[in-house]
Subunit: 150 residues, 2 copies
């Protein structure tokens, strides 16, 4: 599959897709987040091809989202989230909120989030980083920014 390179597009969605848009990448991040940090663990938990897992891990390390580090005298490595990576979890949490709402069906959501601050089972919602009020697609105007395409 020859695939278009999204990384050079003047669009933060495309650029973010270049980092985590390949199949499996978000699930790898989820797994690392919940504690599956080693190659064998990831492979077993996800059922992903070892070849593809290698490619994805390298790509995520390349992009600064994961860090590969030894955990033993022997050549053993684990993958941990960097700051960049931890912030990417925001994207996953919104995907969870959407999937729970629209795709969970009769069975209900596979996992629940309990928010430390209030102790309640909840989910994420979008707020304005400036004023704190709700901020969704219909609540904004889009303006050209400094990095807009020529």
């Amino acid at each position: 599959m020859q695939r278009t390179d999204f990384s050079e597009m003047a669009c933060s969605i495309a650029r973010t897709m270049d980092v985590i848009g390949e199949p499996w990448s978000p699930l790898i991040l989820r797994d690392v987040w919940v504690g599956f940090s080693r190659f064998e663990q990831l492979q077993a938990d996800l059922g992903i091809s070892r070849k593809v897992l290698t490619e994805r891990l390298n790509h995520l390390v390349d992009r600064g989202v994961l860090e590969r580090r030894p955990y033993d005298k022997r050549p053993r490595y684990e993958y941990v989230l960097t700051d960049r990576g931890r912030e990417l979890l925001d994207v996953l949490m919104v995907m969870v909120a959407w999937g729970d709402k629209w795709l969970a069906g009769e069975a209900g959501p596979p996992v629940l989030y309990r928010h430390h601050a209030c102790g309640e089972i909840s989910h994420v919602d979008l707020a304005c980083a400036h004023c704190g009020k709700p901020m969704h697609a219909d609540d904004i105007d889009i303006l050209p920014g400094p990095g807009a395409a020529a």
Copy 2:
């Protein structure tokens, strides 16, 4: 089946990926959002292969994210976001926030968001739908939900 089917996994991330995880899908939603709603417009703006565009549009309509509707007596169609689709834009907005922060580089973000409520240039942040306080990956406990895997 050569590509793994994410739709049956007991994971809302995987299920959401099944809907918008294929290459181009998020960019198509972005374009529809900002007003490119017709086949030719999308093809020209994205530079996507017509074949793939057809597949993606069908898939997104199938999944209830877009609606295909005639806009002329002639066989002409446009694609519009459904409720499900409009809520998916939340995912895109968080990707934009992350991409703007980590990938925009010297040039700065390609587009800016002005929030209607406060009038300021801003971006989205995650809040708890219950208490309104910040809610990120480190602020929650994960518990098994009713739809957890057997």
